[in-house]
Each structure stands twice: as structure tokens, then as C-alpha cells.
Symmetry: D2
Subunit: 365 residues, 4 copies
């Protein structure tokens, strides 16, 4: 029943259900001297927030984060940063219909089996609302990485159901409600999503996250590899069923001559490795893809059982995202930032002992 | 420079390079009373061992494991289990050719940049030899899980380059040098691999691992999810570039009605979730796929740089696996076993507090 | 800058300064099904609260704890429990006098050197106010241990400056403002403390904590011993300079025949070991003493330096405890409870594998 | 059953019983570039080794350490360092007498209750032999701290039974078999120990360890304080029943004016804090005392029970230390070094963010 923490030197611990008084987190390990305020964290929280467009859930959550500690005169002090977001509207609607049954492909069943007790209102701890705190915590990491190291982190939806991004226009990403980088496909996406909503169904998505200008040397060989820790952080996001780095599953059918990233004095000639070699950042861009399953809260009835083990039909009537993958973009960015920040802090102490005598190389994929 | 441990209550810590005196590990947290001997661990070590067939590297490693502690009168005592495998033939061949240059897509470059010092003989800590200790440690977990809980773990190559397994015959897996479950494709694989070896090239592969009869309730919500920890364990295997659970990347284009695993009193009707819901085991079979990249040690020359930053041509002359994915099968099984064992130990204490009042359901995918 | 967490399976992470918006903590790992409410935690918070008597600081802190998550219908769900105590009166008095100087024997100097930035208001993270959250978290552990296992935890001041408790009357402890178990010494203590306050000086104290009815088998050999973890938990309380278990420093001059706790079928004949043998609980009462230094906030001037490295005279004018040891009693009880709870959760999973075939023995020291 | 690791970034994991094939450890996190060989570690191992004098056990252990990994061309590479010491003479004597009974004040009873299984030969995991690996691991930390930071670590017996060191002559410590710093008391110690041995009894001792020239800023506020971690490391040594830092238990009867360490531009005027303020090193010498109990292996019979719960008389016939405190000196030094090394690695990354603008001050106690 533990396990609500991530990171070794930059540690984020979260709490909260969607129907309690508040959700919150503690960010432990942020170095002193970073200028930070709630206003820095709000834009990413707003990107994650439901109700932003027709294509995400219409529930209104007022995701206003409060920083309770760890900041003095506008800067971090090195002390633990406590943050909360109050649940303004936590008065429960009527949950009596779902209280005693298990929605298919939902944490309902496993929570019930594991804990006996279950806060069925809004999914309890499995609620997507929990991810708001990840975004807040990740915002601190993002700001540090950008200001101190020049690391740029961004994410986007690279595929939504059958619709694949074929062009990449970075400036387009924030211009449409899908975080989609291909301006030619926006109309198609809108049509697709309207049909899906009407049908009462949901759809999966692929999210891509990228970190540019990452220092060489982050990650530890063997178990605490950067790619392993990144897989942990990303697979731990609600609804994620797959993670790949660089060429990922395409590697399966690649030959060595095709996959290997040749090097020249001017830099790498490709980035199939996705910026990580032997578990350690190479200085190239870190590139990861996430597969997000379609949500299981559907208006189309499905078979299930209740807590008495009897057969029931389940149908979800509330407001739900037809594609949870869209809102996962800022969450995935946050988890990437948290992972890099942790490894940066683990690594930077090492520099005093090391002089590789070599300037880093590293172009872009 | 730390990070050589995995697991919270069942903790494996490893050490060793291919050219030192020995490699070894400590398995900390195995419960007392398990009958175990080196003979129990040897079969999986032999499955991983190079030189077993034409299609894996011809280096002869005599992977004979010695258990140094933690066993008394044939049974575990609850004390830490120390194990080593001596490097019989650690006298170095001439490494002067690769000492000062970086093989493309290899840990050479990142180790050099991170540590300054580098044991270039056999890849040092990035050597596949390190994985022998994972297999030994995993063997203990496997035996415990099987004997005490009836968990069955197995793995296989589900795709090798362009060749996909279309039939699944479990008994076939150990009958061919590719751990391939489709008896109709063995001849094709042999032809393919011979051509590849002749060419001096390498190829990627996809490995699938399965755990049957897993107890319900393993894994913690939020960060220490079973799927997240499994992703960490599997992505941390050398050459792995992607991990997916259940439907994985197929989820991206699935609709909710297609993806959701409906339930009946007799059990689940499908297993797109791969046995994990909300980060917690559901009692269904856990199914994970791994993408393994083609090795970068090729007889076909490639561009690179040396430690002075100058352009060089690199060619590998030694014996190397044309497909490292094949030998990854027992390693992936071991990492799955270690992860399940750790979560089993974290979970089993919880049962005293919980009575879900429901018998588990759970058929097979 | 990390390090705000304690415990492996029952993990408490805290945040907050005395002059921020709130202090708080996350209790991660409490099993489901425990009835708990803020009202259960308030009595110990009140025992710790300053301003309770003439002999502790007269600052009024309204230590009202709010539970924000992890409780549903009055019971724990197994989810992380977030708690906060708002700082009602965090408007700073004038700190300009101490802003640039270091109080002798205070964390001022080391915080300044370590972090550069320092929240000088009320000591920032070194404030005794932080310990309120430990008491709240410990309250949950205490309740679990008592209800489920019958463990009884209590503490008292066994020595205050030169005044040593010579009689032990448990019912007396909560009847006087010193948590002192010897009713014959209360008048003497009052006289002593009045003189001390008048003088503007402070005094050290020894606190004793006891846990009765502890199950046999808690603690791990070698590093994670119960006594080692207890020493960690207790030495981590503000102002503690020494920790001893059982006979403690008296062991130095004991002979083996004097120290050893002989056993009979009816139980142990003594408890020099303080309930822990080989790092593992024996079933006897766990007994630990803590040495608390006198606070360094004095009305008697002392020499120090300022942040420019110049000589200054320091004098504290505010309200401060003449004996911080008194209020440490509930904190020490909390840390003992947290440590036992963590080891209980680590251990209880082990029982399925073990049948010692022996009933526990264990009388009282 | 886990818990055989210590340290977060400099992590030591140990294994081994006195009657297995070997004992060993893994040192994970040593920075690259440190020159180290077995010869560097042997002197401290020899100081710990039994059979060195009449006053420690006469068992001959040939504590020759082998480094198996992590060193290349005489220097650390940053990889995990595996080390073993073979048990040359592990053939068991006849243990049938103690197999089924519990020695009073020994781990026999708690191991039996916790694990069911017990390696009764030589105490299994509770054997003092385990501490040899701590000394080896600590030797690496000691060398790093000394070479890179100029930290000097030493220890001595400050009290043995009733005999207290009244003079401190550092050069005397290694000149007598008691690690005793007072040359005037050596004759008295010899007489005392001879009488004790003749009597078949044992005696407690107090060990003091000191670290000079420790950098300012090691340790984290709240839970991972340097003093708390040091208490954990030292209390985890076999037979230790108490730990104090600086003035320790003397603080109990000190007034604030007496205890506080005043500061001048030239440095601190006293060191009651033992070099740690608010959990963070102050730059003064770190000074800790340990109380070691008398061993419970005595030639004088005592009452106990057997595994059937029946009353028995226990007497130890083998060779045993009359004062285990003596050999604890190098072990305590090692644990101090390991703790400082871990906090040094956790801290040094922080320097880039911090400029306190103040030169450290710090004289000697």
C-alpha cells in the first residue's frame, strides 16, 4: 500500500482522491535558489485540465495549485516543497450505481481485491485527477532543467486512433485541441472525434515526448538506467500500455547497419537510440513514445460482474474523455522532466572526479 | 555511479565485468525454507550461455554459479544469498584496436563521457555477461513463485527480424535454437540467420514473456505500479528499446469497446490489459513484449570517432551474436520473476487486513 | 536536499516551515480498514503543543490537523494519507535582528553554509514546529499497533537537568506538566524550572520511551536492524544528542554475567537488551533513552559571528522552551511507533514461511 | 528478510556466514579514478581480525580480501566493487550442543523465532565475522575521503569496563592491544583482562570515533540528518547498545550556557555539538561514542531454554572475545567513513547551486 513516491534524489510523493478535500504532493530535493511560484506551474496544469475543449471531459476542475512550503522570497530554499490543489466540487454525485460493480478494464476490480475497502467515488486513487500533482511537480523540474541546463522538453500526440501525424510542425502543437503537430490532419481529427463522441465510444493514442539539450552522462549502468527509469515513470501514467525509446519496436526488424547511429566529429548521423546508450544519456535528444489505451468508461453497455460475483451490464453515463491520450501530453512531459531531474542530481556530483577530455557531440534526429 | 540494485523487499545487487576475476550478485530478501541449490539455477544459465548454437556468439563461457551464503542444509535461511560465477578465461585478448574508439550505438561513448575511466575489455559493465547474474537471481524467484504460488513463467522469441511467429506451440519453444514457438518457421529462421552471419550483419527481435497463475493484488497504485516496475525491469535489459503490456501499442488504434476486457462470473473474456489493471495484477496472465535492437558489433565497417574526437572507421572482428534477442529470453523471464517476487513480498503482508469477499476470476488470453 | 522521508513500507514524508502557509505530511503505506479521524490524532498533538504550561514556550500554535485523503467512510483505504496543519499566525515578527547572524549551537550556521538561501523566520525547516507532523503520523501508527497487535507505547521524562526520576508511577506521567513519573519530585521540578526561566537559561533532559507487547521478530539482521532504525528515528528528533537501548551506556561497565538476560520457560529474567537481540525484537518491552540538549535560544548573551564573518553578541528575546526535552515525549513516542509499524509491515509477510514451533516468552523489565 | 544494504549513493550490501564458503560485499557508488587495491584494505582488516592478541578471540581467521570487480589498471571505474573473503576453515566443529538451545542475550532466540530455519554454526548472519566486510568497504570510503577531502578518521577505546582513559595520546592508540589512548592505564588493562579471562567472564567497553576536516554541509534536515544516519550506522554494529554525538548524555544535565558552542571569527570555542548542527556537519570534528555490551558467550553457566521451551543450562566452551568492544574500533571507523562518504556524494552535487559567501570556521574540541 506504499509506493506513492518516485525518484531518489528528486523525490515526488503524492496523495489525494478526486472526492477528498484536496490532492497534493511533496517535491523533495529541489536545489535552493530556483525562482518559482504557482504562476509558473499553472500553464501546464491548464493544459492538463479537463473541460478545455469539446474533446476532453467536460467536468470543470479548478486546478489552482497552492505552494505551502519550501519557497522564501520567491526562491526555493532547498526544503521540501508542499503543494495542494483543493477539490472545489467534491460533493459526490450519486455513485450508488457503480458502488457495487466493476467497470471492465478499470482499476475497480483490482482495488477491491487488494484493499477490500474502496473509495468508489471518481475512481479514488486511480482517478486521472491524481496526475495534476505530477504536472505541478514536473513543472518545477522543467523550470530548473530549462533555466540551469537549457533542456527543452515538449510532447505531442503523434497518433490518435487511425490518424497518424505525417508532418511535424512544432508551433502547431499548442494551436489545436489535440496537441497534434500535423496541421493537415486537424479537420480529420475533429470529424473523427465528433463521430466517436456521438457513438459513445473511446479511442487510444500515441504520445511522443522529447527532451533536447540533455547533458551527456545521465543514468547509471545495469538497473538504474535512464531508459529503465524513464520506462518506469512513463508506464506509471494512467492508461499507458507501452513505452519505447528511439526506434523502439521498429528495432525488431532493423538490421544492425540500419539501426546503429554512426558518429562523426560533427555529431551523430542518426538517433535510433533515442538519446540513450547503455542506459546513459548521449547528449542527443531523448525521444520516447507512449501507447495509451482507450478509456473504459463508455456509454456503450458491456458485460461485467458485481461485488457478489454476479453478472451485470455496465454503462457509464457521466462525462468522460473519449481520448485520455490527449490530456496525457503534459503528464508525460512532467514525468520525463522528473526523471531527468533525478538523474541530473544523482550525476552532477560525479563531475569533479571525471574529465573525459572529450567535447560532447550530438545533433538532432 | 550507484544503481546496481533492483527491488525493494526482494533486492538483487550485481557486480562484475567480463574480464575481472568473477561476476556476482547478492539476493537479499528471499524467505527462509526454500530448497535451492546451484543445480536449480544452472538450466536457465545454460539457456542464456553463449556458444550454445551457431546462432549465438561462439565465445565459450563456463557459467557455473557458486552459492556462497544464505543456504543451510539445502534450504534458504532468510539471510542474503551471495553468488559468483568465475571468469575462467578473463585473460584479455588484444583490445588495443578498440581501446581508443567508440563503437557506434554502444555504451563506449557514454561510459567514457560519464566516467573518464573505462574498462574497454569486453564492454566492462555493459557486457552482456552481467546478465548471467540476473538469470541466477531470477532462478531463485522463479522457484519460489512456482513452488509456493504455482506461478508459471516462460518466454519466447515472438518475432526475429521480418519473421513473425504465427502459431504458438509452447512445447516447441525449447526445441529450437531460437526459442521460437512456431514450428513452421524454424527452417526459414535458419536460412535467414545463416545469410545474416555471412553478411556480417545483425538483426533485432521481439521477446514475449508470460506469467500464469499470478495472484490478484500485486502492485501499488500511482508510482510503484506492477506495470511500471515491470517496464523498469525489462527496459533495463541490454539492447531493449521498447516494452509493452497486453495489447501495448495496438491499443493506440483500438476503440474502447474493442480494448476493454469484459468480465463474467466465469472470468474475463479477453486480456488486452495483459493481466494488470490500475497497476495491480488482476489474476489473468501477465503478458509483456520487449523490443530488442540489433547488436552494434558488426563485421561491416561504420563511421565513428576516437577519444581524440577524430573520424575513424570501426569494424568488429570478434565473435558476436547476430541476434542478441535470442539469448534475452531467459533474462526477460528472470526480470519478470524478480519483479513479481518483489511485489509478492510487498503485498502478502497486506492480506491480514483485507477480505474482499470475492473469489478471483481469471481465464487465459 | 532530499531526505524528508522515513520508513520503507510505512513511509512518512513531511514538509513545511513555521512561517509558511501550512506544514504537512504524507503517510504512505497504512493498511486499509483502520478507523481513524483527526480526533484520534489531536490528543498527542495537544501534548506536544507549546503554550500548554508555564514550562514550555508560550507561543500559541493552534495545531489542528486536517486529513485530506486516504480515508473513506471513516476508515483508511490503503491510499496515501495527506495531512496538513495550517499556520494560523504566520505573519512574521521582525526577524531583522537574527537575519544576518548565527545563533550558537543552532542550525542557522549549517543551513546557511549548505543552502546559501535560508528562511530565517522561526528556524525554517529546523523549527520544532516540523515535529507536529511526526506526532500526527505517529498517531496513525500508534492506533494501528494498539488495535491490531495490542502494542502499548508511552514515554516520559526520566531526568531533567540534575533531577532524576527515582520512582516510576505510570499514572503520574500525564498528571504534571513535565511528563515526569516520580510524584515526589514535581515540587522540586517546579522550583528548578522557575529559577531557570528567571535566569534566562535552558536545561537538557532525558526522555524514555517504551513499547510493550511488541511481537517477536521485527527487524532485519545486519543493517536494517530494529535498534539501528530506532536509533535513526530517535536521533533524528531536534536536539537529541544520544540514544541508548536497554542497558545502553551502562553496558560499558557491566560484566557478561550481569548483562545477559537469562531465560526460563516462564520468560526472560531481566531486560538489559531493551527488547532487541541481534537487531530483532524479542517480545520483551522495547526501552530506549534519549538525551536532549538544552536549547540554544537563551536570554543570556553569547558570542557568535554574522554572515559577514564578523564577531557579534547574540541574545534571544522571544518566547522559548527552557527545556525542549519535555515536549519531546510525544515526538519520541511517535518515532518509536513509526519505526515499529514499518518493521511490522516488513515482517508480517514473512510469517507464512515460518513456523518456529515455539511460543514466545517475555516478561517485563 | 532484506535489509543487508546501507547508504543511498554510496551503498554497501553484504552477505555471508562464518561457516559458508565465503563472506562478501558489493560497494556500489564509488566514484571513478580512485587508486585502490586489496593491500589498501588489509591493514584495517588485520586490526579487526581475531587472534591478534591474548585479549581478543584466539580463533584464526585469515581475512584476506579479494577485489573481484570495479577496478581497472589499479583505479576504480565507477562500477560496482565486488569483494570476498573466503572462509578458509569453515569445516564445522561439533555444534550439536548449541543447535537446539538459545544462548542468553544472543540472536539465537530471535533468529529462531523469525526465520524458523537457523544456521546455528558460528551464529550465522549474526556472527562478528560479517563485520569484516564492513571494514573492507569502509576502507574504500576512508581512502577516498582522505585523498580527495583530507578527512582523517580514527577510533579508540575510551573506556573498558571500569577503566576510563584519562589522557589522550593519539600515537598510543595503535601501540597497545586495546586501542587505548592513555599510556598510563595499559598495565592496569592487562591485569584486568587476565583476571576476566581466568574468570570466564566478559566486559563492556566504550569506543570513540572521530572524523577531522569534514566539509561543512553534509547531512539533510529532518529525517536523513547526518547524526541520525550515523546513529543508524553505529547502532547497527553487533553488540552496540548506545550512541551519542558530542556531549551526548552529558547534555541532559548541561545548561544552555554550558552546552552552546560559541563562535568567533577564528572558529568555534567548544564542540559540544560533536560537529553536527541541525543534522548537518559544521566543519568541526565529528565525535561519537558507542556503548558495547559484554559478549554473552561465557564460560560461566547461565539459565536458558531450548527449542522445545524447556529449561537448560548454557555454557560456552569455545574461544571468544572477553571484550568485543576492542575489535569494534576499526568497524566503527568503517561505519563512520561509509556514512560520511554517502552524505558527501549526496551533497557535492549541491555546490553548484550554492554560494554561502562565507568561509568555514572550525577548530577542534
Amino acid at each position: 500500500m506504499s509506493g506513492n513516491s518516485i525518484g531518489k534524489l528528486f523525490t515526488v510523493t503524492s496523495f489525494g482522491e478526486s472526492h477528498g478535500l484536496a490532492i497534493g504532493c511533496i517535491v523533495d530535493g529541489c536545489p535552493p535558489g530556483l525562482e518559482i511560484s504557482a504562476a509558473d506551474l499553472q500553464p501546464d496544469l491548464d493544459r492538463r485540465k479537463p473541460g478545455q475543449s469539446r474533446y476532453t471531459t467536460q467536468r470543470r476542475e479548478d486546478d489552482e495549485v497552492k505552494i505551502l512550503s519550501g519557497i522564501f522570497e520567491g526562491k526555493t530554499t532547498g526544503a521540501a516543497i508542499g503543494m495542494i490543489i483543493e477539490n472545489k466540487d467534491q460533493k459526490s454525485k450519486d455513485y450508488s450505481k457503480i458502488k457495487d460493480l466493476f467497470r471492465p478494464s478499470h482499476a475497480d476490480y483490482t482495488y477491491h481485491q487488494k484493499y477490500g475497502e474502496r473509495d468508489y467515488r471518481g475512481g479514488g486513487r486511480s482517478s486521472a485527477r491524481e496526475t495534476a500533482m505530477r504536472v505541478a511537480a514536473g513543472g518545477i523540474a522543467k523550470k530548473y532543467l530549462q533555466e540551469r541546463l537549457g533542456v527543452e522538453i515538449y510532447g505531442y500526440v503523434s497518433q490518435l486512433g487511425p490518424i497518424v501525424a505525417e508532418r511535424f510542425v512544432q508551433s502547431e502543437i499548442e494551436q489545436n485541441p489535440f496537441f497534434f503537430p500535423d496541421p493537415d490532419k486537424i479537420a480529420e481529427l475533429e470529424t473523427y472525434m465528433q463521430a466517436l463522441t456521438k457513438e459513445g465510444n473511446s479511442i487510444g493514442a500515441q504520445v511522443t515526448v522529447v527532451a533536447k539539450q540533455v547533458p551527456v552522462g545521465l543514468g547509471e549502468p545495469v538497473f538504474d538506467r535512464l531508459d529503465a527509469d524513464l520506462a518506469h515513470a512513463l508506464m506509471g501514467i494512467n492508461a499507458v500500455k507501452g513505452v519505447e525509446i528511439g526506434a523502439g519496436f521498429d528495432s525488431v526488424s532493423q538490421k544492425g547497419t540500419e539501426h546503429r547511429d554512426e558518429m562523426t566529429p560533427e555529431g551523430f548521423l542518426s538517433n535510433n537510440s533515442g538519446g540513450i546508450l547503455g542506459g546513459i544519456s548521449s547528449g542527443q535528444s531523448i525521444v520516447a513514445n507512449l501507447a495509451l489505451k482507450p478509456t473504459s468508461s463508455l456509454r456503450i453497455p458491456g458485460q461485467s460482474i458485481n461485488t457478489a460475483g454476479e453478472s451485470v451490464e455496465v454503462v457509464t453515463t457521466g462525462r468522460h474523455d473519449p481520448c485520455v491520450g490527449i490530456r496525457a501530453v503534459p503528464i508525460a512531459e512532467a514525468m520525463l522532466a522528473i526523471t531527468l531531474m533525478d538523474h541530473y542530481l544523482r550525476n552532477r556530483g560525479q563531475n569533479g572526479d571525471v574529465d573525459s577530455g572529450l567535447v560532447s557531440v550530438g545533433p538532432e534526429r
